[in-house]
């Protein structure tokens, strides 16, 4: 069982035909690309990385005395593999959201690097739906396209927004205003807004924290379905261990701005799998319970309790 349900990125690398997608193009030895690799060997990473973070540190002013600096992210190395779902878990204030904002490019690093070798587009789903209240649903969804290509907005953007709304099954509320929607619907609109740019990397910052349990499970299922369809990479920040396990291939435990452990999730189901197992059923399996114990032990260990 365990071997069959190893995480998806691992299975994919096994099934890739040799010579495809593994070797980079051939560069002459004196090219800047190769010289850079020779001088900085740590930049060599898996060609399938979606995000490479090296010695990343983020410092904020604060602390007990004036002039004190607080390290929200402390010397973190992390590779996010293309197509995987990575969950960042930890207590409040452990730096997981800051790390996510670093990946999104919303937070500057004090030192270190964060690179996106894939160079695809990135989308972000906030804890709050964060819809613009004066725009109709469809205009909210097309907003990223309007902001990205300044000239080609308009009809094409509206079409894309409509398609994205179809994916979250909200086409029929396209012309409503956000105040006319329920909390769950707003969150789905915000997911549609993230999908409209066809992102390669989807960042979720405790997206369902404000919702009730049933809605949380349903939206988790929606995200899984969309991930299977589009094969984007997901980085999910949550303090809910069950949610982290249900929605990830790897679980990354953070404490005090540092990564304490990165655990392969044995419960993860592959993205190629077609039959849909209800997420609630997965939560009842012994593997789920066992891994839940492992993750929460790690969290407690990190906190020193």
């Amino acid at each position: 069982m365990y071997w069959e349900t190893r995480s998806k990125w691992l299975r994919r690398s096994q099934s890739t035909p040799p010579g495809v997608g593994i070797h980079p193009p051939v560069y002459p030895l004196w090219s800047p690309f190769v010289l850079n690799l020779i001088q900085n060997p740590e930049t060599i990473s898996s060609p399938k990385a979606a995000v490479t973070i090296r010695q990343a540190t983020v410092e904020f002013a604060g602390g007990r005395r004036a002039g004190d600096r607080v390290k929200a992210v402390d010397n973190v190395d992390l590779d996010v593999i293309s197509g995987e779902r990575l969950a960042l878990v930890g207590q409040s204030g452990c730096g997981k959201t800051t790390l996510l904002r670093v990946i999104a490019g919303l937070q500057q690093l004090s030192s270190g690097r964060c690179e996106h070798p894939g160079r695809g587009s990135t989308s972000f789903v906030f804890q709050q739906p964060a819809l613009l209240p004066w725009r109709r649903v469809i205009d909210n969804v097309s907003l990223p396209l309007e902001l990205q290509n300044r000239k080609h907005a308009g009809a094409a953007a509206k079409d894309a927004a409509g398609a994205a709304l179809d994916e979250v099954e909200l086409r029929d509320v396209a012309s409503r205003f956000p105040y006319q929607l329920s909390g769950g619907m707003k969150m789905r609109v915000s997911i549609a807004r993230a999908l409209v740019t066809r992102p390669d990397l989807l960042l979720l910052d405790e997206p369902f924290a404000a919702l009730d349990d049933l809605l949380r499970t349903q939206l988790g299922g929606l995200v899984t379905r969309l991930w299977r369809l589009h094969h984007f990479t997901i980085v999910l920040v949550t303090h809910n261990i069950a949610e982290a396990i249900a929605l990830s291939d790897r679980v990354c435990v953070m404490h005090n701005g540092q990564i304490n452990a990165v655990l392969d999730n044995p419960v993860a189901r592959s993205g190629d799998e077609t039959e849909s197992v209800d997420e609630v059923d997965v939560r009842r399996t012994p593997e789920f319970a066992a891994f839940y114990g492992v993750v929460s032990d790690r969290l407690r260990e990190a906190a020193g309790r």
Binding site: G105, L106, F126, A130, P133, F177
Partner: protein, 281 residues
Amino acid sequence: MRSSDRTDNDRLPETSNKPGLNHRGWQDALFSTLSVTVVAVFGLLVWHLFVRIFDLPKILLPTPGQVAAAGWQRREELLMASWVTFYAAAVSLAVAILIGGVLSIIFSQSRMLRRAFFPYVIFLQTVPIVAIAPLLIIWSGYEFRTTVIAAVIICLFPIVNNITTGLQSCRTEHRDLFRLYGASRLQTLVRLQIPTSITYLLLGARISSGLAVIGAIVAEFFVSNGSVYVGLGALMTRWQGLSQTDALIAALGMSTLLGLALFGLVNGIGWLFFSRYTRVD
């Protein structure tokens, strides 16, 4: 009746965002109209009895009936003057919103400009309009535009202050969203900052609507000295000279109504054209 007087359950329909008056809202409106009327009638009664009991001369304090009669007798004059003053106040408010909007947008684009010039905007608020009006007469003459300039000066601060605040109070998530998708400065201004600031602008305009009438009337006191200007302020100085206390009080009531009318106009425009910007999601 203030909403704070009610229990949480009572307040639900009022805070709901559904458009239109619901049943309870309609009842509420009726109740508040009734209670306001009762207070007004009671106040007029007390006033009337006060004058009668102490047998005050008409020139010191006329009864409400005498005031109404005087107002009715001079209704054409009074209405004309009110229109002139209302027009001056409305034009001033519009000009103040225009100037204030441009100033605030400039302030929002540069912290240095904001730091350098914002104190002078506060200066506009602290300078007494009565002291600056004679100067304005010297510079601008006994004209309608002098009235407008005085009223603009008094209106400008609440508007600039509110719009500047509004332009900077976008939600962090919204700002992040715009940054994430590489929005330009102009895009952020037009699609995020200005829509966010409209609520604040309306708030400032409401405060300024009363101030605009005050500014216009004070300026008219001075403007009326040298010309055939007909505004409420001009009427008031004339009637005060003639010791027509009843007519003077009628004019006072009219100027209060003007403030209310301008306030209503601002609210109406806000409700008609900008209601989508004043909602919370």
